[in-house]
C-alpha cells in the first residue's frame, strides 16, 4: 500500500509538470496567432472581436515590408554561402584523420560557443578600422559565419553515414570525380543539406545580435525593426507580422520535412 501511494504521487507530479510543460511550449505561439486576428486596437487577450485588419494594415506598412524583404534577401544569400562553403568543408573534414582537420572543425563550430554580441562587435570594430562602410554585404558576411556551424554539424553527420564504398565503386567504374559527386555523393547527403539550409535560413532571418552591429541605416532587418517597435510601443501590427512568420515557418517546416526529414536531423543534433 505504501509503495503504490508513493508511485501515485510520483505519477501525479510527473503528469502535472508534463502538462504544464506542454502548455508552456504551445501557449505563446497560439496567443500570437490569435491576437494577430484581433479586431481591436490593443493587445487585449482574448481579442474583443476578430478581423484581418492588422494583416491589411501590414500590407500597407512599407516601414515593415522593406526590412522584411531585406531580411529574406540577406538570409537567402547567407544560407547559400554557408551551405556551399560549409558543405564543401564538411565533406573535406568528415573523413580526414589529419590533426589540422580537428582544429579546423573546432574553429568552424566556435561561433556557436562565442556570444553573438561579442562576434558582432568584433566584426564591426574591424570594418571600422579598415574603413569599410557597413552595407548589406557586411551583414551577409556576419550572418554566414554564424550559420556555418549548423551546416558543418548537419552535413558532417550525413557524410559520416555515407558508405565510402559507393564512391570508390563509382570512381573505379570510370566515373569522373565531378560526376561521382553529382550523382552519388550529393543525393546521399541531400537530407543533411536540406535540413542545414532550413536551420541556417531561420538562424539568419532571426538574428539580432550580429545584425545590431553590422546593419547600416539603409539595410534594416526585420527582427531589429520589430525589436525597435516593441521597445517603443505595443503595436498590433507586430502581431500580424508574427502571425505571418509563424505560418511561413510552419510551411517551411512541412516542406523541409518532406524533402529532408528535418525533425529527425534536428532531434539527433
Amino acid at each position: 500500500m505504501q509503495r503504490s501511494l508513493v508511485d501515485r504521487i510520483y505519477s501525479t507530479v510527473v503528469g502535472t509538470i508534463t502538462s504544464f510543460g506542454m502548455l508552456l511550449l504551445l501557449a505563446p505561439t497560439l496567443v500570437v496567432l490569435m491576437i494577430s486576428f484581433t479586431g481591436g486596437i490593443t493587445l487585449k487577450f482574448p481579442p474583443p472581436s476578430w478581423s484581418l485588419r492588422w494583416y491589411v494594415e501590414l500590407l500597407q506598412s512599407q516601414e515593415i515590408i522593406e526590412p522584411a524583404l531585406t531580411s529574406l534577401k540577406v538570409a537567402a544569400i547567407a544560407t547559400i554561402l554557408s551551405a556551399v562553403l560549409g558543405g564543401a568543408a564538411a565533406l573535406g573534414l568528415a573523413r580526414s584523420k589529419l590533426k589540422i582537420a580537428r582544429v579546423l572543425d573546432a574553429l568552424f563550430m566556435s561561433p556557436m560557443v562565442l556570444p553573438a554580441m561579442a562576434f558582432g562587435l568584433s566584426l564591426l570594430l574591424v570594418f571600422n578600422l579598415l574603413g569599410i562602410r557597413l552595407s548589406a554585404a557586411t551583414l551577409v558576411l556576419g550572418h554566414t559565419i554564424i550559420c556555418v556551424p549548423f551546416v558543418i554539424r548537419m552535413v558532417g553527420a550525413s557524410v559520416q553515414q555515407l558508405n565510402p564504398v559507393l564512391i570508390t565503386c563509382s570512381l573505379s567504374l570510370g566515373a569522373s570525380r565531378w560526376y561521382t559527386f553529382r550523382r552519388v555523393t550529393l543525393p546521399l547527403i541531400r537530407r543533411g543539406i536540406v535540413a542545414s539550409c532550413f536551420v541556417a535560413f531561420l538562424t539568419s532571418f532571426d538574428n539580432v545580435p550580429v545584425s545590431l552591429f553590422l546593419a547600416d541605416a539603409r539595410t534594416e532587418v526585420l527582427p531589429i525593426k520589430l525589436w525597435a517597435i516593441l521597445e517603443g510601443s505595443l503595436d498590433v501590427r507586430v502581431a500580424a507580422v508574427s502571425g505571418v512568420i509563424v505560418l511561413l515557418t510552419l510551411a517551411g517546416l512541412v516542406c523541409a520535412e518532406i524533402f529532408g526529414g528535418v525533425s529527425r536531423q534536428i532531434g539527433s543534433r
Binding site: 501557449a27 566556435s110 531561420l202
Partner: protein, 285 residues
C-alpha cells in the same frame, strides 16, 4: 589505395575557402577585439589593462555580470525541472504522444525569437492574459507587474530555451537500457526511487549538456532580456550594446565582451570537464 599524401591534401582542398573566410571574418576580428580592449582610452592611446581594472573595480559592472550568469543558471535549472517529466512521458508513450511532444518542442525552436518574446509581452503585460485572468477571478486586486520583472524574464526564457534542454534529455533517456529500470522494478523499487537511483544518474550527461546549452543561450539572449526584462534590468548583452553603440567606448565594450565571453565559456568548460570526470566514475561503478 591511392598514395596517402595526395589523397589527404586533395581531401582538404574543399576546406580551404571556408578556412580563409573564417580567418578573415572570425579569427582576425577576435584578435582585434582583444587588442582594442587593451587600450586605455577610447582614442586608442596607451596599452594597458585599465579597461579590465575598471570593470573589476566597479560594483555596478560586477553586479551586471553576476546577474547575467545567475539568470542563465536559473533558467537552465527551470528548464531542467520541466524537461525530465516531459522526457519520461515521451519515452513511456505511444507514437501519437511522441509526435505531439516532438511537435511542441520544435514549435518554439523554430519560431523567431522576436515573435516568441512578443508573445510573452502579450501574456505578461498589464492587460495581459495572466493579469486579466487573475483580476476577473478576483484573486488579485490590482494588475501585477509581470512584464519588466526578473520573474517574468525567467519564465519567458524558460519557455524559449526549453527545447534545448528537452532534446538532449529525451535522447539520453531513449539510449538508457530498459533492462536496468525493469530490474529495479523487479527488485521492488518504487518509480520515484527508480528515477532517483537509476534514471537520473545514467542520464546525467544529457542533462548537463542541456543545462550548459540553456545556460549560455539564456545569458546571451539580448532580445528577450531587453523586451521582457525592460530597461531597468541591465544585463551583459545590453550593457555591451550600450557601451559600444550608445557611448561609443570601444575599448571598454571590447573588454566587456571578452570578460563576458570568458565567463560564459569558462563556466561551460569547467562544468563540462567536471561532469566528464564524474560520469566516468558512474560508468566504472
Amino acid at each position: 589505395m591511392t598514395p596517402a599524401s595526395t589523397s589527404t591534401s586533395r581531401q582538404m582542398l574543399p576546406v580551404v575557402p571556408l578556412a580563409a573566410l573564417f580567418f578573415a571574418a572570425f579569427v582576425l576580428p577576435l584578435i582585434a577585439l582583444v587588442v582594442i580592449s587593451l587600450f586605455r582610452t577610447p582614442q586608442f592611446a596607451e596599452l594597458s589593462l585599465a579597461q579590465y581594472l575598471r570593470f573589476f573595480s566597479d560594483p555596478f559592472s560586477l553586479k551586471v555580470l553576476t546577474d547575467t550568469l545567475w539568470l542563465g543558471a536559473e533558467v537552465a535549472l527551470a528548464t531542467l525541472i520541466l524537461a525530465y517529466p516531459l522526457a519520461l512521458v515521451y519515452v513511456a508513450s505511444g507514437p501519437f504522444m511522441r509526435t505531439l511532444i516532438t511537435f511542441l518542442i520544435m514549435l518554439p525552436l523554430l519560431t523567431s525569437t522576436v515573435v516568441r518574446t512578443f508573445a510573452w509581452i502579450v501574456i505578461l503585460g498589464r492587460d495581459g492574459i495572466v493579469n486579466s485572468a487573475m483580476l476577473s477571478l478576483g484573486l488579485w486586486q490590482a494588475p501585477a507587474r509581470l512584464l519588466y520583472s526578473w520573474e517574468g524574464m525567467v519564465l519567458a526564457l524558460t519557455q524559449i530555451q526549453l527545447p534545448l534542454m528537452a532534446l538532449p534529455v529525451i535522447n539520453s533517456l531513449l539510449r538508457l537500457d530498459g533492462n536496468l529500470t525493469r530490474a529495479a522494478e523487479g527488485l521492488g523499487a518504487s518509480r520515484a526511487r527508480i528515477f532517483i537511483t537509476v534514471i537520473l544518474p545514467l542520464t546525467l550527461p544529457g542533462a548537463i549538456a542541456g543545462w550548459l546549452l540553456v545556460f549560455a543561450a539564456a545569458a546571451t539572449a539580448f532580445i528577450t532580456q531587453t523586451l521582457v526584462g525592460g530597461g531597468r534590468i541591465i544585463l551583459m548583452p545590453s550593457y555591451i550594446y550600450q557601451q559600444a553603440v550608445g557611448v561609443q567606448d570601444w575599448p571598454f565594450s571590447a573588454a566587456l565582451s571578452l570578460t563576458f565571453t570568458l565567463a560564459v565559456t569558462g563556466i561551460v568548460f569547467a562544468i563540462g570537464a567536471l561532469s566528464r570526470r564524474y560520469v566516468r566514475g558512474v560508468d566504472a561503478a
